[in-house]
């Protein structure tokens, strides 16, 4: 076990794996969110894939690094912002004169484009953002229960065997010298 700044480091293979997979997971998740209207996927699915980034950082680096990287207050506020954005997109229908949740500009692109179906794409983005921050916050919360206490920082080098033997013989000679002195005086 190695110690660095008093925090236990993880296995090198797991750390390297997490380093390599993390950007791929985030990019793939964002792709699934963005292309929700033209290919299978959508807001909920992509959001959970991106939120798995929290688990990857935890597996590679441990809880203290991940709680420094992702702040729970920001995630919580972000979740509420995403939900408010979705409600606002629904209220656009009432502002535009029709009923609630009405897709008032559904003909703003061709079928199959990225920005095509009006409020459907934007609602998908809002839900993706909400699920991303929400599930990330939930994972941080649950991982916080499992967090081990940090070990206290131990002295740097361990002593080799010869040094221990030398110390012991020195102690013995010191003891015998002290006894001789006491016996004399």
């Amino acid at each position: 076990m190695k110690f660095k700044d008093g925090i236990k480091e993880k296995n090198i293979i797991v750390k390297c794996g997490a380093d390599k997979f993390l950007p791929f997971a985030i990019t793939f998740g964002l792709y699934v969110i963005l292309f929700g209207t033209v290919s299978p996927g959508g807001g909920f699915q992509g959001g959970v894939i991106v939120a798995s980034a929290a688990i990857m950082i935890y597996l590679g680096y441990g809880f203290h690094i991940v709680s420094r990287a992702l702040r729970s207050e920001t995630l919580r506020v972000g979740e509420a912002l995403g939900a408010s954005l979705y409600v606002f997109l629904g209220l656009l229908g009432i502002i535009g004169g029709a009923n609630f949740c009405r897709n008032i500009f559904f003909d703003n692109g061709e079928v199959g484009d990225l920005i095509s179906a009006g409020t459907i794409t934007y609602m998908s983005y809002a839900v993706g953002f909400k699920v991303l921050t929400g599930v990330g916050f939930l994972l941080l919360l649950l991982l916080g229960i499992l967090a081990p206490d940090p070990e206290p920082a131990k002295p740097a080098a361990t002593e080799t065997k010869e040094q221990i033997e030398v110390k012991e013989t020195l102690n013995e000679t010191l003891h015998t010298e002290q006894k001789e002195k006491e016996a004399v005086s």
Binding site: S84, V87, N99, F100, C101
Partner: protein, 637 residues
């Protein structure tokens, strides 16, 4: 901004303010309180603005989300349909949540994480309002899920108190079973009818019930029964009401189980329209009577104030289910009126319990006493609530219970079935036992000797007294002016429930119901027997004055306090076990110990059934679901 948008705006405003509290209100209390009060008030104003159109003129507001009108006779979008029954419950919802929000501003002042409390409170309010206004069966399920999670989290809010997490866990398990039953029923219904809109389902199901739809009916009724705490499902109610913060308990016992009752009325009367099958009537009446009886007998044995109120809540819901199950319009009137009154008086009682808890620090009946000397106004409000629940004229509990007795008796005479005679007598006996239980509570908490450690309690602050005053006023007004209540609130609601053709036509287009062959249940005239509330008020005042004269002519204190250093007189040794106590009190919390001793066998059985283990409660729930399924299969196919 026409009036059609108001229902959705009311619901969405509550949800949006929950998010605003979470973003802005975690640190500063003033912003939180301001957002909450503004949201609840504006939402209430929007719902009250619908009264002239829906209740007085009799229109039905039908509103399709996203303007997805029905195509080729099939409903493809989600619809809101606000008729008189929905508006009746919606008015109750907004009033209860307004009063609870005002109360909780000063009640919850000393707690931590208050931002989360108000978020969950506003989500709960939005979901209950959304449930009663909707016309789509899957939307109802989504709102039930929000309601369940918000209630569980609010129950576990003070997770430092003993038993809070345990109560929340039990509520979560049983509540999830109810939601799952509901979902299974909805899935079977969709497989058979290929639609999720309640008006269209009602038209399709008028052609008779097949095995699939009977199974769906049984599962949905069981699911809503779990939500409204019918008898084998009533077990988490006592635990969760006792440990939740009192402002939340008031909302749970006031509105969350009314959501279950509303769902049951909607399903049984409008979607499935099976109310004229006598087997279904007997099933609901038997469950209602069992609930009444078990609730009140368990309440007589409790030693904690809020648990006792929770068991009384279960018992009064039994009255409502029994009245709804009678199948006549008089019974339906009584059931709806009692549901409204129960929200008012039970809310009032829970608010006084919260005031006692906050000022005196405990709700244990053995440890309280004589609080009327220090908190006189709270005592007055509590007496109003206790008189209302026991059915003493001229309060509202008397009026609604009178209608329920009359409905049960009329049913017994008309059908000649001996079961309904037993039901009427059981209703009267349960009412008497409720009165007994509340005499015990009044004596134990408010009258009697004041304890030393409570010698300095004060009245609760103004923001806690205001909701209690308003609720006591509404209780008395609903009792004194009940013909007005009947004309403006109850009669339109009952009319809307039995007039299914109107419901279907307003949603799916005129002529749809006639084409599908739907016929109405004939409406009976509701006649009250003659009694004059003013005469009863005069009689009540005379008796009250006489009783007050008798009480004040008696002795001021009931016991003696020994001075310091004095030796106890051995002639008192038998009563106080020979110990030297400087200050002893014989409390009133065991006033009916003779009753409990004589019914020892019954209480032993009840004690084993209410063991506190979640697996036992789940067993009882599954057995009840099995009973409901098999009864419906045998009698309704």
């Amino acid at each position: 901004m026409n009036i059609q948008n108001f229902p959705v705006l009311a619901v969405m405003l509550l949800f949006l303010s929950a998010f605003l509290v979470e973003i802005f209100g975690s640190k500063i209390a003033a912003i939180r309180n301001f957002i909450t009060i503004v949201a609840v008030t504006v939402s209430a104003a929007l719902i009250f603005a619908l009264i002239p159109a829906v209740l007085i003129k009799g229109e039905v507001i039908s509103y399709w989300m996203g303007n997805w009108e029905p195509v080729a006779g099939y409903a493809i979008g989600i619809g809101y349909e606000v008729d008189a029954l929905s508006l009746f419950f919606a008015l109750l919802v907004v009033c209860t949540f307004w009063l609870s929000a005002v109360y909780s501003i000063s009640y919850m002042k000393d707690d931590h994480h208050l931002g989360h409390y108000y978020t969950l409170f506003l989500m709960l309010s939005g979901s209950v309002l959304g449930l009663v206004l909707t016309g789509d069966i899957f939307n109802m399920f989504v709102m039930i899920e929000i309601m369940t999670f918000a209630s569980v989290a609010l129950t576990a809010f003070r997770n430092g108190t003993e038993g809070a997490l345990e109560g929340a866990f039990k509520y979560l398990v049983i509540g999830s079973i109810g939601s799952s039953l509901n979902l299974a029923g909805i899935a079977l219904l969709y497989a058979e009818c290929h639609t999720l809109n309640m008006a269209q389902l009602s038209a399709i199901l008028s052609g008779g019930l097949s095995p699939t739809t009977v199974m769906a009916f049984a599962l949905i009724v069981a699911g809503f029964g779990v939500k409204s705490y019918m008898v084998p499902f009533h077990t988490p109610a006592a635990d969760s009401y006792a440990v939740a913060p009192t402002a939340a308990s008031m909302v749970f016992s006031g509105m969350v189980n009314k959501a279950g009752v509303y769902g049951m009325i909607r399903m049984v009367y409008i979607v499935f329209r099976a109310m004229d099958a006598s087997a279904l009537q007997m099933l609901l009446v038997i469950f209602g009577t069992l609930t009444m009886f078990v609730g009140v007998t368990m309440a007589l044995a409790q030693h904690e104030f809020k648990r006792l109120l929770a068991y009384h809540s279960i018992s009064q819901i039994g009255y409502v289910i029994m009245a709804v199950g009678l199948g006549s319009t008089l019974g339906l009137t009584g059931g709806l009126f009692h549901a409204m009154n129960h929200t008012l008086f039970k809310g009032l009682l829970f608010l006084t319990a919260g005031a006692v808890l906050k000022q005196a620090g405990t709700t244990n009946l053995d440890a309280l006493g004589g609080l009327s000397k220090r908190m006189p106004r709270t005592t007055l409000y509590f007496l109003a609530g206790a008189a209302a629940i026991s059915g003493i004229p001229p309060f509202n509990g008397f009026a609604s219970k009178w209608i329920i007795y009359q409905a049960a008796y009329t049913k017994a005479v008309e059908s000649g079935n001996f079961l309904y005679v037993i039901v009427t007598v059981a209703g009267l006996i349960v009412s008497v036992m409720t009165l007994a239980s509340f005499i015990k509570v009044t004596q134990a908490v408010f009258f009697g000797q004041l304890r030393e450690e409570h010698a300095h309690v004060q009245e609760p602050p103004f923001l806690m007294r205001l909701p209690m005053f308003l609720m006591a006023l509404l209780c008395s007004a609903a009792g004194l002016f009940y013909p007005l209540v009947n004309r403006y609130l109850l009669h339109p609601a009952v009319d809307a429930t039995v007039n299914v053709t109107n419901y279907i036509d307003k949603m799916m287009g005129d002529g749809y119901a006639a084409a599908a062959g739907v016929t109405n249940i004939p409406v009976q005239e509701v006649q009250f027997s003659f009694w004059d509330p003013l005469l009863w008020l005069v009689l009540f005042v005379v008796v009250f004055v006489a009783a007050a004269v008798v009480i004040m002519a008696g002795k001021g204190s009931r016991g003696r306090v020994l001075e310091e250093g004095a030796v106890a007189d051995p002639k008192y040794a038998t009563f106080f076990s020979g110990e030297q106590e400087l200050y002893s009190q014989v409390g009133g919390s065991d006033l009916f110990w003779g009753f409990k001793k004589n019914w020892k066998a019954y209480y032993r059985v009840m004690d084993k059934l209410h063991s506190g283990i979640v697996t036992d409660y789940t067993n009882m729930a599954v057995i009840a679901v099995g009973v409901i399924v098999i009864v419906m299969f045998i009698f309704l196919i």
